[in-house]
């Protein structure tokens, strides 16, 4: 939450909120980011690991020592705890935010995020989702949003990652001309997708 404590429920507000978290991630060492990213790839492939990591971080945020975890969740967790097994809050808090966003998304979206991390296409997807959120204001009303062709260079159609990422948010899409039918119910998912793409691309230093 920005320093003045006010958040407006629009794209500007979302961007302000995400940037506040992003600033914390920017302070992280590059090697640490790489370790976290590798761990996250594993966690996104395993829903149980994602839940276990979120539970462990919640436990740690209530000032309790954190129990070690196995697998990819454990690898992420070890980056965020001190030798006394207490969470390092400066690292953990932005990560809890990111996990909250990821947990709002579907399994299919998790798989596509992993692919985008591997292919280094996170920022491309981010530009598209950001553009949609900006143009679909006010979010409380249904609308039709045209997608700019320059953001669709990597393809647009029923089987492209960009299409599926948005469709999984609960949006109806059309191919020609490319546009999206905005549904107010999709707001939570779309905003969580934007936050996930922003923070993952920050971590991967794309």
């Amino acid at each position: 939450v920005p320093a003045n404590g006010t958040v407006t429920e629009d794209f500007q507000g979302l961007r302000t909120e995400v940037e506040a978290v992003s600033k914390e991630l920017a302070l992280m060492d590059g090697q640490l980011c790489q370790l976290l990213l590798e761990g996250l790839e594993g966690v996104l492939r395993d829903q149980l690991a994602l839940q276990a990591l979120e539970e462990a971080l919640e436990q740690g945020l209530s000032s309790e020592p954190v129990e070690p975890l196995g697998g990819p969740a454990g690898a992420v967790l070890e980056c965020l705890v001190s030798p006394s097994r207490m969470l390092v809050l400066e690292l953990a808090v932005p990560f809890v935010y990111l996990l909250g966003a990821l947990n709002t998304l579907s399994k299919v979206q998790h798989q596509l995020l992993v692919e985008a991390m591997e292919l280094k296409t996170l920022s491309r997807q981010l530009d598209l989702v950001g553009s949609l959120l900006e143009k679909s204001a006010p979010w409380q009303k249904r609308s039709t949003v045209s997608l700019p062709p320059e953001l669709l260079k990597s393809g647009w159609g029923g089987e492209t990652p960009a299409w599926v990422l948005l469709e999984e948010c609960g949006l109806e899409l059309r191919e020609d001309p490319p546009h999206v039918h905005w549904e107010p119910q999709a707001q939570g998912h779309a905003c969580a997708l934007y936050a996930s793409l922003t923070l993952l691309s920050d971590l991967s230093r794309e």
Partner: protein
């Protein structure tokens, strides 16, 4: 997912107030039956909603079992028809049919129209009153409840659900050209329309009785048990221990209530 799509469509038609909470996966659907206890995961953002998680416990597990089983009120069924025209779903209609009448899944007028029936189950206000008057909190407190008390988590109880009346087959088709499409048991018929080329088809069967959406109330466990249908932000399930008092919180609920009242009065 196809399940989430179905949930969204049903909520869109039946919940204009926006207070029904969608179930996000078929796998977790059974955990949201009436009387099930839930915790709420706070949202880390202003922009997405908190999630509810079931704790594998019903309110009946935390009350003494010496009273008749509480009954549930049935509503609906609500008949939802999804008409598909070419590539795009164009309309949905909702009608409440006679209570108790089993309508099931019906192929409505032509090959591209399908429908489903959902109904609601809810706990009436009088049932809550009787339940809480006649049945007392089980002692000692259930282990899961003790853990939630220790964590200071609020506990919610499911008061109303919207669930499917019959098995519903949801088919998702993707076209090599043309838009993505989801329909209720209509994919085979759509192939017959000759529009576009279907390249991928996924079908999921949602069993009858699957919970699609629910409403909750806050449980307040102090000297007695209360169900708060419209809680304010200050109300908590468990009284926080008084500040400055380093003693262990009492395990006896009525004793805790006394101490809480004492501190409030003071």
């Amino acid at each position: 997912s196809a399940f989430e799509w179905l949930v969204r469509r049903v909520i869109q038609e039946l919940d204009h107030g926006g207070d029904l909470i969608p179930v996000t996966s078929l796998q977790s659907s059974t955990g949201f039956k009436p009387y099930c206890l839930l915790v709420r995961k706070p949202a880390s953002s202003w922009f997405w909603k908190p999630r509810y998680k079931h704790v594998n416990l019903s309110i009946k597990d935390i009350l003494e079992p010496d009273a008749p089983e509480p009954v549930l009120q049935h509503g609906g069924p609500f008949h939802i028809r999804d008409t598909v025209d070419g590539q795009l779903r164009t309309s949905m209609e909702v009608a409440a049919t006679g209570q108790g009448k089993v309508a099931g899944r019906v192929l409505v007028s032509d090959s591209s129209s399908t429908s489903l029936n959902v109904f609601s189950l809810s706990v009436g206000p009088n049932t809550w009153q009787a339940l809480l008057q006649e049945r007392r909190l089980r002692q000692p407190e259930h282990g899961i409840l003790q853990q939630l008390r220790h964590r200071g988590d609020n506990v919610y109880v499911v008061t109303e659900v919207l669930q499917t009346q019959k098995d519903v087959e949801v088919t998702r088709t993707r076209r090599r050209e043309g838009s993505g499409l989801i329909s209720l048991a209509g994919a085979m018929c759509l192939q017959g329309t000759g529009q576009g080329h279907l390249s991928q088809k996924k079908t999921v069967t949602i069993p009858s009785g699957s919970v699609l959406a629910f409403r909750v109330a806050l449980l307040v466990i102090h000297s007695n048990l209360e169900v708060i249908l419209f809680p304010d932000k200050k109300q908590k399930t468990f009284q926080p221990p008084p500040t400055g008092d380093s003693r262990e919180p009492p395990t006896d609920i009525s004793m805790k209530g006394c101490i809480s009242n004492f501190w409030t009065d003071a």
